[in-house]
């Protein structure tokens, strides 16, 4: 009898435990707390893409995807706890979705041999694969973003912005300060004056900063915000009648959530992006058929097609393509995290590949190499159309200023390598 009970218990545990042969993907999401409104669409997009692959294709290379969700609340300590509690499940890759969590995980993931993908956030100099073996930040990073904003302003001014004033309104945190070095370099190169306007966390009160903008009348304002800071900044810009077409936010300040509070008056506000916008892609038909209609949509299923949903889906697509690459390289479907790293390092995203996935022209083409973990630094500019109620891409994808960025990345990663006694790879 005892044996029967023991056997049943073992069977139950075996059934409940994730199959170790599955491809385990951890979604470190934040569906609660002050940033939930942004965390939910990203996580929904991320999960729906993997659900689609499971439902439609039977996983990747015949191997099912075991999706594990862990709630971080956008809190660094909780994010690290998520990592520690899930890494034993055979996680192939982590996308921390927070610069704070990323900084904490870089040494841990490096020691554990699990790759990190920090798309559009995290430590910019991780682009240097010679130093950061386990960290990837393709297709674009913060410094690319700063350069994209200036390139766009240059384009609007016939290539000459000398003598102009550009203000950076930024979250007074490590994240918000990221673009400063790049912008200072670009200011020197192009001869514009840079005004720095930090905003205290969380950013609900910005009157001082916007009164200063009203007084000094900078030609352009760049925003590096997150959460409520974005909504308040856009509202304050509207209040002081700052021309919206001269106001441009980084990609984390460019979702529907950010312009909602200001309503129609936010029309014309611009934001950077490194992926396309909207739901006019063949893949959405598949998501509807295989995910939504089968009742498997993540969350409430009401975020499909939003900017951040697309970003989450794009991140999942890049992870899935890296898995495929790893499977091809190693000739096995059930890859390990170390093999996943190889897949990420040899990832190549082409227009042909994106079209075949039902995402034609959805993002820039790029190639990851041993030396370059950050892609080619392409991005685009979107603009809020209040009447249509959506952001629209208003430029083609263009490259960041590599002449300015590469020395900065080399210097920062070199310093990290020296501090941590890291031997350069890719020789």
């Amino acid at each position: 009898m005892k044996k029967t009970i023991f056997g049943a218990a073992v069977a139950a545990v075996m059934a409940a435990a994730p199959a170790l042969a599955d491809l385990t993907i951890v979604d470190t999401s934040y569906r609660t707390g002050p940033y939930a409104a942004n965390g939910i669409p990203f996580s929904d997009g991320y999960q729906d893409y993997f659900t689609l692959l499971n439902e439609r294709d039977g996983g990747i290379g015949g191997e099912m995807i075991n999706l594990v969700e862990c709630e971080t609340g956008y809190n660094t300590e909780k994010g690290v706890e998520c990592y520690e509690s899930t890494k034993g499940e055979g996680a192939l890759v982590y996308q921390p979705l927070s610069t704070g969590i990323t900084y904490q995980l870089i040494p841990k993931a490096t020691a554990d041999g699990i790759p990190l993908h920090t798309m559009g956030y995290g430590r910019t100099s991780a682009k240097n694969g010679k130093v950061f073996e386990w960290v990837f930040n393709y297709p674009a990073n913060y410094w690319d973003g700063a350069s994209h904003a200036i390139t766009h302003i240059l384009d609007q001014n016939d290539g000459d912005i000398s003598g102009k004033t550009i203000a950076l309104v930024y979250h007074n945190s490590a994240y918000g300060k990221e673009p400063i070095r790049t912008l200072e370099g670009l200011a020197e190169k192009h001869g514009f004056d840079l005004t720095l306007l930090p905003v205290d966390h969380p950013g609900q009160e910005q009157k001082s900063q916007w009164l200063q903008i009203r007084r000094e009348k900078p030609d352009n304002v760049i925003m590096w915000g997150w959460g409520v800071m974005n909504q308040v900044a856009i509202q304050e810009a509207v209040n002081i009648r700052y021309p919206m077409e001269n106001f441009i936010g980084v990609w984390w300040s460019g979702s529907e959530n950010d312009v909602k509070a200001a309503g129609d008056r936010a029309d014309g506000y611009k934001a950077l992006t490194f992926h396309n916008i909207g739901s006019d892609y063949p893949i959405y038909d598949d998501i509807q058929t295989h995910v939504v209609e089968t009742g498997n949509a993540a969350g409430a299923g009401d975020q499909i097609g939003t900017v951040l949903y697309n970003r989450g889906m794009y991140a999942a697509m890049l992870a899935a393509e890296a898995i495929k690459t790893a499977q091809e390289i190693h000739g096995t479907a059930a890859i390990t995290s170390a093999q996943m790293r190889d897949g990420m390092e040899n990832l190549e995203i082409t227009e042909e590949k994106m079209a075949a996935l039902g995402l034609p022209n959805f993002g820039p083409e790029f190639k990851v190499t041993c030396e370059n973990h950050g892609g080619n630094g392409f991005g685009a500019v979107s603009q809020w159309d209040a009447e249509a109620g959506e952001f629209k891409l208003i430029t083609e994808y263009f490259q960041s200023d590599q002449e300015i960025l590469q020395p900065l990345i080399a210097a920062d990663s070199q310093a990290f390598a020296e501090e941590n006694d890291i031997e350069m790879r890719c020789n």
Binding site: P34, N172, P198, D200, Q204, V228, Q235, A261, A300
Partner: protein, 328 residues
């Protein structure tokens, strides 16, 4: 007039307006602390919950729709109607009174005579419960709140100051309305506390629970009433802050702006909350204007807490608070 002076005047006026918004949040803390000795950590979340409820009612949103849809496989989200702002505010007040009753009935009634730190811990628990409950009830998305209050630069002030000084001052219409409403609110609360039967009972409870009980005042009723009043203040604060940023979960963080106001003005004084709010608002804005550039900016929160700390050192009860004397 020198440009710097004009800008300083503009910053001063905007500081006053910001101070009123801080004071609106601080008032809720003061009401509950005064009547029950409870430092209500959940006041910020109450403002969030009130604003969520208000938008939900106005938009005809079905409460708990995500939960209902997940359990029953339905696809219901809205009732299909829109409720006018005033009616929605009244209905939200009913919800906040109900919440006050529930909070008192299920939590604080059981904690009578407990140490203040226990009561404080209970309000932390309440804050987390309410935040999660609000999320399940109304969803986590950012909601636009429009109760008809005007926003943007006040054209008259801009024009008048331009004609006078050659520089038009920026004053936000929403801030002017917030000031007007805050004045009405404080007058109403003071009149209520001074001249109404229940107001006097509230003050009696605030002075001495035991003595109030001995003359037949119902502690339960007074506490429900005070939490309801704090709920009403939370609605006003939720409307003002929610109109600025949209109704979202970071609204609960506005409590952080109220703490230095309370430290400065005193935890037991309604006028103290207002004066404290104004001092903090003006002080932090003028400090940022004058020294922000030299110190790298974003000095406002730092200044507010440093100022409050200095006041605490010299006057622990705050500028207007009652000095607590414990007799052996």
């Amino acid at each position: 007039m020198p440009e710097q002076l004009l800008w300083g005047m503009e910053v001063f006026l905007n500081g006053l307006m910001a101070g009123v918004l801080y004071a609106l949040v601080a008032l809720g803390f003061v009401l509950i602390f005064k009547a029950s000795g409870i430092f209500n950590f959940s006041q910020g979340v109450m403002a969030l919950f009130a604003a969520l409820t208000l938008v939900g009612i106005m938009e005809g949103q079905v409460p708990f729709s995500h939960l209902i849809n997940a359990v029953f496989g339905t696809e219901i989200h809205h009732f299909g109607w829109h409720v006018p702002a005033l009616a929605a505010i009244l209905l939200t007040m009913v919800v906040m009174v109900l919440l006050a009753w529930l909070v008192n009935h299920f939590i604080f009634r059981h904690l009578v005579n407990q140490e203040p730190i226990i009561l404080f811990m209970a309000t932390i628990g309440l804050a987390y419960f309410l935040e999660g409950f609000g999320d399940i009830m109304w969803g986590a998305d950012i909601k636009k709140l429009d109760v008809g209050l005007p926003q943007g630069i006040n054209g008259t002030i801009d024009e008048v100051t331009y004609n006078l000084f050659g520089y038009g001052f920026f004053i936000d219409n929403l801030d002017l309305w917030a000031t007007f409403i805050a004045i009405l609110l404080v007058i109403g609360l003071v009149l209520f506390a001074q001249y109404s039967k229940h107001g006097r009972a509230m003050r009696a409870v605030a002075d001495d629970h035991q003595a109030a009980l001995s003359v037949g005042i119902s502690l339960n009723f007074i506490w429900v009433m005070v939490w309801s009043l704090a709920g009403f203040v939370a609605i006003v604060a939720g409307i003002m802050w929610g109109t600025k940023s949209g109704v979202q979960f970071s609204l609960s963080l506005i409590a952080l702006k109220a703490l230095p106001v309370l430290m400065l003005g005193g935890f037991t004084s309604i006028p103290g909350a207002i004066v404290g709010g104004l001092i903090i608002g003006v002080g932090e804005k003028l400090f940022e204007f004058t020294f922000g550039g030299m110190m790298g900016g974003a000095t406002e929160n730092w200044f507010a807490y440093v100022l409050a700390l200095i006041v605490l050192v010299f006057r622990p009860q705050g500028l207007f608070g009652e000095k607590i004397i414990e007799r052996v």
